[in-house]
């Protein structure tokens, strides 16, 4: 994986000192909150419902055991012993003191980590496929391109005060495991017929109050022009994205209002201009970065798994993913124990995961957009030992992509923007389905819960989505069906009037009843919904 050189290290250290100075000026009253807010946000520091919250980037979701141990240390030293992994490959600490924040950032910098641009109207953490470098189906490892973009976007002088936040995801498979087309810019690394590597660009996707699927804006950008093209796409947005209305300021609105064709025309014009200016990093830089992502020394070994322990076998079926080397698998570490808080991990759990990565996964870990963790390279011969250790630590839930594997934003329990709580719903739904044994029966079903219209819980992209709203001061929940963040991307549709907490849990059960009654062989919930449409579900809910 990527390691900082002296320059990268100096950059994060300079940033810590810059922030230390900004925080000091705020505490001394030289900066007002209005002036300080964008600065602290660009260092990942929010003021949330109960306290300051620090969001730390895990670029393209990759980290090593030393970094995970540092995250555990920060949870204990500066916070309350836990952290929350998010849908964009970040970790959030909920109880950071402003006067400690610079020290926490300095500790992060000592392990090549940072919170740079994890908030604010700038280019955010670059996310990627959590199976990158391990998946059997990828064209190439997308992470070198993500790292090149990380460096380009860090402290970008022109794009630090954009109309609104800007999220980029990079993948390199037909399968989309990063919600790529629901990003401001989605990039798929591809090979053309001549075998050359290039970048396919999508722009103007997003969730929030106006969900949109990003249209393709360029089929193939030669890889040694990728940064230039990204710069052109951003410049058009910076100049013409709306600034009169915060809710219409994302690039999706610009692309929608101009029309994809006109946006493409403007970007192409800017691209041609920037090619003549010359903003692309030297070609050797990509090669230098890529050299950090060579395969670890995989060794041949057993390819079959002893399935005599049914609990282990279930976990293998659910939580492991095919690896490009047939003596290995990628193993998902569920942060979704039944009744638990989706995405939360204690410092002790982080240390256990770090140890397992060191012992069994070439010292590598991933953070998944589903708020789980991943050991990317586990030898099949070690799988039982890994599972045994995970299970003992409460990290062995065999529920990847089931209805227990719920994405939930922090909601009204933590977030100052939320209108309703998300976490208690996730807890009760997972308990309910585990109790009744329905989880197994239902199979793949992606349930996503957001506590407000900002859609951090990706409810628009859930096979079942739940949106919490404020109905005259009381929590109320809207149900939607048919969304997907994957390669078969679609936006969920609202079923009808909302429900109270008990009502929405019952409603989720009812729609799974409809599915079970109607499903054809091998159909997932989403497939059945797409075949039979909304009506039968509506009928069951409101008929």
């Amino acid at each position: 994986m990527y390691r900082y050189d002296q320059y990268d290290q100096a950059m994060v250290e300079a940033r810590v000192e810059e922030f230390r100075d900004q925080a000091r000026r705020r505490l001394e009253g030289k900066l007002s909150e209005d002036q300080f807010k964008p600065l602290r946000l660009m260092n990942g520091l929010y003021l949330q419902l109960h306290a300051y919250m620090l969001r730390v980037a895990i670029p393209y979701g990759t980290l090593n055991s030393r970094q995970m141990e540092a995250l555990a240390m920060i949870a204990e030293k500066y916070d309350r012993g836990y952290g929350h992994f998010t849908t964009r490959q970040n970790i959030q600490y909920n109880w950071i003191r402003l006067e400690d924040a610079a020290d926490a950032l300095a500790d992060l910098a000592s392990v090549e980590m940072h919170a740079i641009q994890t908030s604010g109207n700038c280019i955010r953490n670059i996310s990627s496929d959590h199976f990158a470098g391990a998946a059997a189906d990828e064209v190439i490892d997308p992470r070198p391109y993500a790292e090149l973009l990380r460096q380009w976007s860090s402290f970008h002088p022109e794009f630090t005060y954009l109309p609104r936040k800007f999220k980029i995801a990079v993948i390199a498979s037909e399968k989309d495991r990063a919600a790529m087309r629901l990003h401001d810019i989605g990039i798929r690394i591809v090979r053309n017929d001549a075998g050359e590597v290039g970048a396919q660009f999508y722009a103007g996707g997003g969730m929030g109050r106006t969900p949109m699927i990003a249209p393709l804006i360029r089929d193939f950008v030669p890889i040694d022009q990728m940064i230039t093209y990204a710069e052109a796409a951003l410049r058009v947005y910076n100049r013409y994205g709306r600034r009169d209305n915060k809710y219409k300021a994302r690039i999706k609105i610009l692309v929608h209002e101009l029309g994809a064709e006109e946006y493409i025309r403007q970007v192409e014009e800017e691209f041609a201009h920037l090619l003549s200016v010359g903003v692309e990093p030297p070609r050797e830089e990509l090669a230098r970065i890529a050299a950090h992502f060579t395969d670890p020394p995989f060794a041949d070994g057993p390819k079959t798994i002893d399935r005599s322990d049914p609990d282990f076998a279930l976990w293998v079926d659910r939580n492991t993913h095919r690896h490009k080397h047939d003596a290995y698998v990628s193993a998902v570490i569920s942060l979704k124990p039944v009744g638990g808080i989706p995405g939360d991990a204690t410092a002790d759990q982080m240390r256990i995961v770090a140890r397992l990565a060191k012992l069994y996964s070439f010292d590598e870990l991933r953070v998944m957009h589903t708020q789980n963790l991943l050991l990317p390279h586990v030898a099949i011969k070690d799988l039982k030992a890994v599972w045994t250790a995970l299970d003992a630590a409460g990290l062995g839930a065999p529920n990847m992509d089931t209805i227990e594997d719920i994405i939930a934003c922090p909601g009204l329990d933590y977030c100052s923007l939320a209108n309703a709580r998300s976490i208690p719903l996730a807890q009760r739904i997972s308990e309910r389905f585990a109790e009744t044994g329905r989880t197994d029966v239902v199979g793949e079903l992606k349930l996503k819960i957001s506590g407000c219209i900002n859609a951090c819980g990706h409810h628009h992209a859930g096979h079942i989505g739940i949106l919490g709203v404020d109905k005259k001061g009381v929590e109320n929940y809207q149900l939607s069906l048919g969304g997907s963040e994957a390669e078969d991307v679609s936006l969920a549709k609202i079923t009808g009037p909302g429900f109270d907490e008990d009502g929405v849990i019952a409603a989720v059960e009812k729609v799974t009843d409809v599915y079970l009654a109607a499903r054809a062989d091998g159909e997932r919930f989403l497939d059945t919904y797409r075949r039979i449409g909304m009506e039968p579900f509506k009928e069951a809910l409101y008929g």
Binding site: L27, H50, Y52, R80, R97, L98, E99, D413, G473
Partner: protein, 99 residues
């Protein structure tokens, strides 16, 4: 009644105006009536509190202060899903009325 709340600038902790300073406990909150704007401006300028605002609240039979809006009730107690981290309070019935 009208009470004032905000976050402590240094720690970020939720605080409530008790008439002479900022308390961690919602039960210490006092009715500020028409003085809200003046106190808010003064206290924020002095950096004794960060982004403070005025809210409606009531007092129950047992004398506990109850913010009108659910969001401020959650702020008063802590995350409902981590009651082990709750703001320490004598109000044992707090969780019954937060939602």
């Amino acid at each position: 009644m009208r009470i004032l709340t905000g976050n402590d600038l240094r720690s970020g902790a939720v605080v409530w105006w008790n008439g002479s300073g900022w308390s961690l406990f919602v039960d210490d909150a006092v009715d500020v009536g028409d003085d809200a704007e003046e106190i808010l401006a003064r206290e924020e300028a002095a950096r004794r509190v960060n982004v403070p605002y005025a809210i409606e609240a009531s007092i129950d039979e047992a004398g506990h202060v109850r913010p009108a809006h659910i969001k401020d009730r959650v702020r008063a107690l802590g995350p409902t899903v981590r009651r082990d981290l709750a703001v320490p309070t004598a109000d044992k019935t707090g969780w019954d009325w937060v939602i």
